[in-house]
Symmetry: C3
Amino acid sequence: MPLRHPQLTPDGRLRHLLTIEGLPPEIIHRILDTAATFVGVSDREVKKVPLMRGKSVFNLFFENSTRTRTTFEIAAKRLSADVVNLNVSTSSTAKGESLLDTIDNLSAMDADMFVVRHGTSGAPYLIAQHLDRTRGSEVHVINAGDGRHAHPTQGLLDMYTIRHFKKDFRNLTVAVVGDILHSRVARSGIHALTTLGVPEVRAIGPLTLLPDGLEQMGVRVFTDMRAGLRGVDAILMLRLQSERMRGALLPSAQEYFKHYGLTSEKLALAKPDAIVMHPGPMNRGVEIESAVADGPQSVILDQVRFGIAVRMAVMSLLAGHG
Amino acid sequence: MPLRHPQLTPDGRLRHLLTIEGLPPEIIHRILDTAATFVGVSDREVKKVPLMRGKSVFNLFFENSTRTRTTFEIAAKRLSADVVNLNVSTSSTAKGESLLDTIDNLSAMDADMFVVRHGTSGAPYLIAQHLDRTRGSEVHVINAGDGRHAHPTQGLLDMYTIRHFKKDFRNLTVAVVGDILHSRVARSGIHALTTLGVPEVRAIGPLTLLPDGLEQMGVRVFTDMRAGLRGVDAILMLRLQSERMRGALLPSAQEYFKHYGLTSEKLALAKPDAIVMHPGPMNRGVEIESAVADGPQSVILDQVRFGIAVRMAVMSLLAGHG
Amino acid sequence: MPLRHPQLTPDGRLRHLLTIEGLPPEIIHRILDTAATFVGVSDREVKKVPLMRGKSVFNLFFENSTRTRTTFEIAAKRLSADVVNLNVSTSSTAKGESLLDTIDNLSAMDADMFVVRHGTSGAPYLIAQHLDRTRGSEVHVINAGDGRHAHPTQGLLDMYTIRHFKKDFRNLTVAVVGDILHSRVARSGIHALTTLGVPEVRAIGPLTLLPDGLEQMGVRVFTDMRAGLRGVDAILMLRLQSERMRGALLPSAQEYFKHYGLTSEKLALAKPDAIVMHPGPMNRGVEIESAVADGPQSVILDQVRFGIAVRMAVMSLLAGHG
């Protein structure tokens, strides 16, 4: 198993989903194709398929996120799995137990899958490696967001949304806008876009919120939002975390909105059929104007809907179906 | 759709359950009749019916209430629905997201039903109207208590209990006792009683805890509990919230109990077969004497049991069954 | 029903599981035999049996314990029961409701089983007696840990583990090591060992953490760990609660580890095939050395795995199966 692909089996199938970085495009397309079959399930009278009946999925959230936890819980239940929610910040780790002891313990309860959210970058890797060593290929890990590192299911649902509306990635210009420095959504999105062959990926934000090394990733950097939006097919807005504001990286919410908030007027610079995306929760009037968030080009709620199907796809592929 | 009945479809069926005010008596009777069929389900070896298999019910509690949340969770699970519990006070709204953005987001996960508890009167209306506008008739809302306004499933289970023990509403005298001013239970109960044709509804409490306008609702007001209880068939005791005590609306718990606590001695003034009800949780020795709470005329635990069946009935009717 | 066996029916079957004290050895063996049939269920593709379909299990935790709650939740779900988790510390009791009113209320929702964790010794007894009086033999109680008193499913899973590895109890020497004074795990373990006919049970710990009366229970007491471990077949390490340290009953964690921590060197005094057990969560470097916790004689994770099967066994026996 090559060091750079700890999430793949030796024969190239998905063992864990830890990051989009280094994921072969065929696997991403496989996930998106599988997700497409599940979009229909949610429209049925009985929104359930028996693919994971009798499997135990543990939602292991070391960082609180009701919204993300809910999407995985819904996805697992629609696959007929048994779901156990563990808010671990208040649990054993508080009693001084180590992370891997907690994992060993839960995995001894015959877990089939861990959905892990953790404040520290790399924690899901550590867990996946440990499980590979101790449990072989039996237990699967999905990264539901780790520190500033990755949020791969968000990246995948963004790709599903773009593919749904734009069909082909290979002639698109896509802009990612906002606090790219601190955003695992941005990292996962940019990796997915470049992997899928999007010819022009742009990063737009204030200098203080742009990380080094974007150019090396093939990304064009803009500090002027108007210039950056010109002619784009899709816009991925990022959430501005209010703690950044307090951290003095930004002058004020009003100032930020003026320069980097997506308004109808700025949106008019993009292609007329450009789509607007946002991972939620939105700060209306800070990173996005309400008229845009609720406007005809917004596909923000489609993202949520597709997100359930994408998570069902990842889970069922990891569980060996498809 | 007439303005006064946002919870009914144009052809008069239940689309949401928001309040008992303005609900036609036939619909109330329909719910009670349906509930009667579910009372038996809970006595079976397998306490489940498949009426909502594959449906997603979101318990959306902006105000913490383990007890009420549990009754809805149990009811939904006995209908075979998938239930997701969301304690929203600690979630996205804390991140600055608006209420309706939260709703849009969850509803994009293909929710079939929201059970909403909210500290602000009218919040479930707002949510229902928004969903009607955005999702058509697909998604249903049940008000599980909003501010001081309404708690319709409590009102309905109270009616179920009265009908169970008294058969006919049309020759009863019913007294509601306690903090009527702040009680959504009282409001929902009084609306239900008048709608169902109870000829004499009485409100008993200290002047400071009686709202204006009771007489216009056809309610006889008593500040003397002994006078008010004389000859009644059913007594709905209300919970006294301790915060009222601190708010100086009341002298003390002892004083309150002396005047408005239900004792065996006061109960003797009612009809010999009068039933005693309480929505729980009880403050024994404050609003009710233990001898009464645990006595032969108490039907408090029947209320809880019928409450599950009533909630199953409301859910299954909203889901289109029956 | 004899006073000393409130957990047995008049004809000697298990009605509740409250403590191992006084439990006939046949019942313990019956539970262990039943558990053996469930160990296989967790290895299956579909880890579920329909024995408790449509039954409602309430996890009623007055004391927070995510880990223990999870084991019961998993066990109940694998038996196809509906599970409701209630963290009661933040719920109605905070509103002044009495423990038994809470129980009455939940039991009126047609609960079939309560799994109770409570900080006060005897609380599950009180609940079981109350339910016997009010609900007859319909509702079952499992003690998931009460104060310093008992933790019977932990004791049973410890016995399952010993039986699995040592086959016969009747020629073993077993040592329980650590804070025996405050440990419900120790109490339940010692009762189980003596009931099952283990000829030599040893208690090892500092004088301040050894309760009176051990000798009367047939236990040999050692304050010297090296002497106590000599020739034993199984070692039950106990968790050292850090609050004890603050309570000045102990000098320091380092000091404790030096005298009562299980190291490879001390373990070498036991039989070469002695097994090492710990109820978790472990304080590595305080009560146990990592080399031992992760070493070949450690069966700590087997305990967790068997724990699910043992809890499934207890639940299904109480529900009338087997």
